[in-house]
């Protein structure tokens, strides 16, 4: 039996299914295969738009070994390029910075506009001669990677083969239509933090999208958010997660609350939802705040979780709200930190050679199986 034969068990209905085999968590070969079949061929989260807030801001990112450059062009549009000069393959930008003019390759000074066009090829026809008949600049612009910003997350489709983001994520956009087009205001520095965890990135998805573990791993939530107050969210082939019926906004000692999004339907008064938009973006929305977590796979057994909290109104980014933002970030940090031992423990457990992928609860583990099935389908289709 080959590795891919095992996926047949994953593709069965949740009642009969097994989880993804160990190889998907501990094998170099499978990590490389999933890079192409799961992360590069879909719309993966790369970074946050707030990391490159003004025109000219450029952020080099090593995305699973692929050198990318996220930048904001002069018109304010976020673009992502392969961070590689078309001449000799030199890395173009090594550190985050603002580019006042063009992107100049540090090797032979070929220059590219922030829209990718090749603007200058100094001495390419000999000293002081900057043109040559074989150097057609129109054909030698930077390789642009398909990108799209939604809820401030910069998504990329490295392979260029996925449908447009609006199609790919249509169900998620529709699910949260009440929030579509509303401001997502990044809090201050306290509202961004990371966890460097010793697990495969998929385990962070799997843990995030089910509520089964909440009373055991997050006992502090029990007082107001009991297991029966949660419901599963499953959109096969797209996303899965959970919702709660008892969200309570944070209230400061002086009675202040973060401002709500105005005019939301009644559902959101005490409702909140949390979805994993496949492959690697974890999102949460509430009436007064939201967050996004980008899972950066650093290796088969290492993931960096980039957390960013957002608010509904520009005013919340100001100093007047700094104390409340800090307290809110502390609360979320506590919750997310409680999950670390779980995802790292599941990673360790997957070195047990007799583990068979695990048995799902048909009632509680549907969102996790939904994700496993999506991964299995993509890996099967690519092989």
């Amino acid at each position: 039996m080959t590795m891919h034969d095992d996926l047949d068990a994953v593709l069965k209905p949740v009642e009969q299914a097994r989880g993804l085999p160990n190889a998907h968590y501990v094998s170099d070969e499978m990590f490389a295969e999933e890079r192409e079949a799961v992360l590069f061929s879909s719309w993966a989260g790369l970074t946050f738009g707030k990391e490159i807030p003004v025109p000219g801001d450029a952020l080099p990112i090593d995305f699973m070994g692929m050198p990318l450059l996220a930048l904001r062009d002069r018109k304010g549009q976020v673009r992502v390029f392969q961070n590689t000069c078309r001449h000799r393959g030199m890395i173009l930008v090594e550190k985050k910075r603002n580019i006042g003019g063009v992107i100049r390759c540090p090797y032979h000074s070929w220059c590219y506009a922030l829209t990718g066009e090749l603007k200058a090829t100094p001495h390419v026809g000999g000293p002081g001669q900057n043109v040559h008949e074989t150097i057609r600049r129109a054909e030698l612009g930077l390789i642009e990677i398909a990108s799209h910003v939604w809820r401030d997350v910069v998504f990329v489709n490295v392979s260029g083969t996925a449908p447009p983001f609006e199609v790919y994520a249509a169900e998620a956009i529709r699910l949260w239509g009440d929030y579509e087009g509303r401001p997502v205001v990044a809090g201050g520095p306290e509202s961004a933090f990371t966890f460097d965890v010793a697990c495969n990135w998929k385990l962070a998805v799997e843990n995030y999208c089910e509520s089964y573990h909440l009373p055991w791993v997050h006992p502090g939530l029990n007082s107001y958010s009991r297991l029966e107050d949660h419901y599963n969210i499953e959109a096969p082939g797209a996303f899965s997660g959970q919702g709660t019926l008892v969200y309570r906004p944070m209230i400061a000692a002086d009675g202040r609350r973060f401002p709500d999004y105005e005019g939301l339907p009644e559902k959101w008064r005490e409702g909140a939802e949390y979805i994993a938009l496949y492959p690697n973006v974890l999102l949460g929305v509430h009436r007064d705040q939201s967050f996004a977590i980008i899972l950066e796979p650093r290796g088969k057994e290492r993931t960096v979780e980039h957390v960013q909290i957002y608010y509904a109104d520009d005013s919340v980014a100001g100093d007047d709200w700094a104390d409340m933002r800090a307290e809110n970030a502390r609360l979320w940090h506590t919750v997310f930190a409680e999950d670390v031992f779980v995802v790292e423990g599941m990673q360790k457990g997957r070195h047990g050679v007799h583990f068979d992928g695990g048995k799902f609860s048909p009632v509680m583990d549907g969102p996790t199986h939904c994700f496993h099935r999506w991964v299995a389908e993509r890996v099967s289709a690519a092989s």
Binding site: G56, I99, G100, G101, V102, R104, S109, C111, K119, A120, P122, H123, P127, G128, Q129, N130, V131, R137
Partner: protein
């Protein structure tokens, strides 16, 4: 003029060492003018190309005139 070029050479090395891009634009443009005055058109094109590239990288308005001159000389498109 050779003395001026020698001085410029030292100033250019200092500007490179300091990463002073506005100065590099100015000094390379000046070197180009100096060479042109001596009838050294290829050397002028070389220096002007450098001035142009650093002006482009900076987003410096001097890039426009430098490009126009290079293009007029058949060195740029």
């Amino acid at each position: 003029m050779p003395d001026r070029l020698a001085t410029l050479d030292r100033e250019l090395l200092a500007a490179h060492a300091a990463g002073d891009m506005p100065a590099l634009v100015r000094l390379y443009a000046e070197a180009a003018e100096a060479c042109e005055a001596e009838g050294q058109s290829d050397a002028a094109g070389f220096y002007r190309t450098h001035a142009y590239v650093f002006a482009l990288a900076l987003g410096d308005a001097r890039a426009g005139a430098l490009h126009a001159k290079l293009k007029a000389d058949g060195r740029e498109q």
